[in-house]
Symmetry: C2
């Protein structure tokens, strides 16, 4: 974390928003709703009736603690540091002598510990507690939060170890948390416990539920599954934990099992945005190629989890496609969730909104996840703090070091100061207007000798050019590598062809047959009903793909962006009455251009209909 | 009911199945699961812990009682009559002195009456009790069941009258039941109470819920709504009750309000099958043109309710389109639910099944509504008895009489013996192989003088011919009318062009863009993965619409049917990896014909993938 700082641009603006607005926003809501005070109530042994929030609300406090820990470490802001200390003290007060910690179970009058592993979320909450402590260890060192989390982790190992309860949590999360705690502390038992949880799952250990055991991945053991399925966040968190265990244990079979599930999932169960989860029912993956844009669930947290999994697979395999997917999901899911003011969030991220939504009162908790406008807070509020902790720790996803040199995976303005394995220091600065423009300039600030600099060339960037000290050469997608004896002042420029392109779907994705999407660089675009000429109505439009959209600038509260203008004509619509088998009227004349904006910006100008996939005009001679 | 008997053919076979198999099947399951015994438990004041089934299980017993009553009246089978008497006695035992009757609420240790109108279903259960009693009044006359239902209805009028509790039930149903009881008894207070329930709704009287007040139509008053919305069965039952009230009160504003909602719903929220309800979440309508075939819910009960509403609007307006829709829904939703042996049922009726389902154990209750194979029984078992009561009373939907003569709305073999308003008797017999063949022959058996015989010509039947005593003339969709001085032995023949036709969707139905469906007469067809040549795989197919499908016979357990064979080629599929923007491989050569079967027959040959909407081949020169 300390070796990369984001520079001015897209992600730094959003990271600033996380530190300056989102964490305070989350803390204020959790305080107002009593989720923080639940720890006091538990410490005092108060009855269940006085408790507030859902059974997993502790985890939201822990995700906030994680975000605050990253932010305190990154920015050094004393108020964030004070917040970490204050919240840690409140949490610590509720911990029982044996390490058990939960505000919903375990105390007199609350209900017995571990009596409802399927839905109780006790282990899930520990997972987020531990991840917060790991953030603290990585940015600050041992403290109260760390000792609370270690005591909880030790308790879990006692209780759920090889000789203990042979259970798992209905919601995976603790698996990767325990491996991260092992990495941060060197304590082997945490890794062993994570491994036990990964291996136990998939044998029906959680019992039958109406949604079926695939909902929480208890249908098939991890190392036997073919594809991710069931609740998307659960599936992705479990896969992260499995990769962590596989990497630490050198378990190539397990790693390849998850990698294969990921390939299948990316090939057939992933939205163009990188979003995952096709169904509102069970917040779950659908079948292969079941990817409806309108009823896409594509939960923000599933986007966060997909980035975490892609990152782990990138580290494990070095395959640039994982970094591509992480980039896609960061720009088009994670960045989509928060409003430009950081005070409201999408929970679901559909690719088609048919009807403009109702304005959501910013002072009210939204009981439904599927509002068509961002909401200040949700009854189930997993997404806002998940976005905050991801943005706060985003520098960790940018670069890696290996024996050969430095790899830049995310093309974002930043400064890097790190050490090669042989001890040599490398200092770099990266300047770029990406994703709006395609030039990425890396300046070597501090270095000695020969090493390899690798820059990721995204899969869409055919025709990219690498300029190393004036020597230009075409570079294919993957990693463009420059190797030489570097000197301070040396410069490498990657030139990516960032321009609008038409993207067509696999014909097995029935829900978007006959449509095109527009992408530009890593960004997916959409047509929003606001800001259009009245003649260009996204709800009944057919675009002319014979000419590429024109580009023009667009100012936003978080800096300038690029909008696109498409030729289009009205869709051929039959007379009202019965929508099957009727003759359609002839297509009308071309109209005002249809304006497309980056998908992550949609919904910031009030209630709007929206669509990513645009019906393609069949032309005057096409089928009626 | 006594004036029409179905003759040999499609519907008589299914009615036979209802009487000989379904009612016994339903009674056996309700007995086995304790739903019948709940009435004894309630009568004895047993605690809630001993009760079985969901809070609305009483209603299933009442729907079974309704089906048995129709069947006892129709067939005169003494075992059905004995079953009605036995069940009525069990129900009657649980009724309280003031008429209250419910096995889930109202008794010591069960929970207070009417404390949860939103979810308790007490009034909904009365509705089905009353409809069973109306069936008894129409086929038998006053008896114990009728007196129980009247006491319950009187209690409701006392309790929820103009001076009583200003509430409504979370699930509409009692509204139409009360109007039907008014019609059967002449007791005006039942109509008044129904009117109160219709008018009270839509003002937020049920409170806020996570699904939103539209879920149970409490968002907008009936007479102000624009379209049906929320839970489909609730919306349709409410609309039925509103039409009943409007017709009895001469309230043209209310009637037109529902008629307009129906027009909008049919035009933009109805599947090709006539099915309604696009979303699993809330079992609800979606937005206009949100009609995904794969995630279609299209609950069987919504199909039953849509037939009931279409029938009411037909009676109120005389518009043949309502009879068309009723026919479509009967053949493609109601007839689809039961297996050919009458022992298992579809709850949801999607138009696309991507993956063959798991075999469902016929001895196990299915906890999920969305299984891809029919199930013997469900945790929520509304559909099986709803199908049974509909088939048992199907003769009521066939014909009407008005001042001018007789109208035949459903083209099914039957005999009719009725009286014109002036007292003259008319006897007819109808012979037809419809829906497999298009000739409908009406023979006049008994008659005097001049009157008008009207036969419905479905909207798809362009080119139909009416032959009246050898005189042939083309007849457009609507009603073909023959008026003359009739004599016994006179014959009218309607010739309908029953042949396969391609049907294309409104381009605003995004989910099926670029696809065609095949219809033949009133039947929607589908491609099932079983029974195909291995080279013709419905999951990745493109059909050639330049030639009409070939027809061939198909034997089933319920008589012969017609299958179709389509020219097709493999879909152009890109290489695996990322399903957007790839180049597709060239379309392959034509393959074995793709066999289509009537949609209502699908899933009777074991686990199968299935699709109604077939991607249309773009040809060799089409877009990749």
């Amino acid at each position: 974390m300390g070796e990369v700082q984001l520079g001015p641009g897209f992600w730094a603006e959003r990271q600033r928003l996380a530190g300056e607005v989102m964490v305070d926003h989350c803390r204020a809501w959790m305080t107002r709703l009593g989720w923080v005070d639940n720890f006091r109530l538990a410490a005092e042994g108060r009855p269940l009736a006085e408790r507030h929030g859902r059974e997993f609300s502790d985890s939201e406090v822990y995700k906030l603690l994680e975000a605050l820990s990253w932010e305190a470490g990154r920015s050094g802001r004393p108020d964030h540091e004070r917040a970490v200390v204050a919240l840690s003290e409140q949490v610590a007060a509720a911990q029982e002598p044996d390490g058990y910690l939960n505000t919903r179970f375990g105390h007199q009058s609350l209900g017995l510990r571990y009596t409802n592993l399927a839905w109780g979320h006790e282990l899930y909450c520990y997972g987020h507690l531990i991840q917060a402590a790991v953030a603290r260890l990585r940015t600050h060192g041992d403290d109260l939060l760390v000792s609370v989390a270690r005591r909880a982790a030790d308790h879990v190992c006692e209780e759920f170890g090889a000789d203990g309860r042979a259970g798992v949590c209905g919601h995976p999360e603790i698996e990767m948390a325990l491996v991260e705690l092992f990495r941060a502390t060197g304590e082997e038992r945490y890794l062993e416990q994570a491994q036990l949880f990964v291996e136990r799952r998939g044998h029906g250990v959680l019992g039958e539920i109406q949604l079926g055991p695939a909902y929480f991945q208890d249908d098939v053991p991890v190392r036997q599954a073919r594809v991710l399925r069931g609740h998307a966040v659960r599936a992705l968190y479990l896969a992260c934990g499995a990769v962590d265990v596989a990497v630490e244990r050198g378990d190539d079979e397990l790693l390849e099992a998850v990698a294969e599930q990921w390939r299948t999932t990316v090939a057939a169960r992933t939205y163009l945005t990188g979003g995952m989860g096709s169904r509102h029912t069970g917040e779950s993956f659908g079948e292969d190629f079941e990817l409806p844009p309108d009823r896409a669930y594509s939960e923000t947290c599933a986007g966060v989890a997909a980035v975490m999994l892609a990152w782990r697979l990138l580290l494990a395999t070095g395959d640039a496609r994982h970094a591509d997917l992480a980039e896609r999901t960061l720009y088009n899911v994670v960045a989509t969730s928060p409003a430009l003011d950081g005070r409201s969030f999408f929970y679901a991220n559909p690719l088609h909104q048919r009807v403009p939504g109702m304005v959501v009162d910013p002072d009210v908790v939204n009981p439904r996840a599927e509002a068509s406008l961002r909401s200040a807070w949700f009854d189930v509020a997993c997404c806002p703090p998940n976005v905050a902790r991801t943005l706060a720790s985003l520098a960790a996803y940018v670069a890696t070091v290996d024996d050969g040199g430095v790899q830049l995976h995310q093309l974002t303005a930043c400064s890097v100061r790190t050490s090669l394995p042989d001890g040599r220091t490398v200092g770099l600065s990266v300047d770029t207007g990406y994703p709006w423009t395609g030039d990425v300039v890396v300046r070597v600030r501090e270095t000695r000798g020969r090493w390899r600099m690798a820059l990721r060339v995204p899969a869409w960037a055919e025709g990219a050019v690498l300029d190393v000290g004036g020597e230009r050469r075409p570079v294919p997608p993957g990693y463009a590598v420059a190797e030489q004896d570097w000197r301070p002042g040396d410069q490498v420029r990657l030139e990516l062809p960032v321009r609008a392109r038409w993207t067509r779907p696999d014909p097995r994705i029935d829900a978007v047959r006959g449509c095109v999407a527009v992408e530009r660089g890593p960004l997916v675009y959409c047509a929003e009903s606001v800001g259009q000429d009245p003649s260009a109505r996204p709800e009944a439009v057919a675009v002319d793909t014979s000419v590429l959209p024109a580009e023009h600038g667009l100012d936003t509260e978080l800096g300038s962006a690029v909008a696109l203008a498409c030729s289009n004509r009205p869709a051929r619509v039959p007379p009202a009455g019965w929508p099957y088998g009727g003759h359609t009227s002839a297509a009308g004349a071309a109209r005002a251009p249809l304006i497309l904006v980056p998908y992550h910006l949609w919904g910031n100008r009030g209630p709007a209909a929206m669509r990513v996939w645009l019906p393609e005009s069949p032309g005057e001679e096409g089928p009626a």
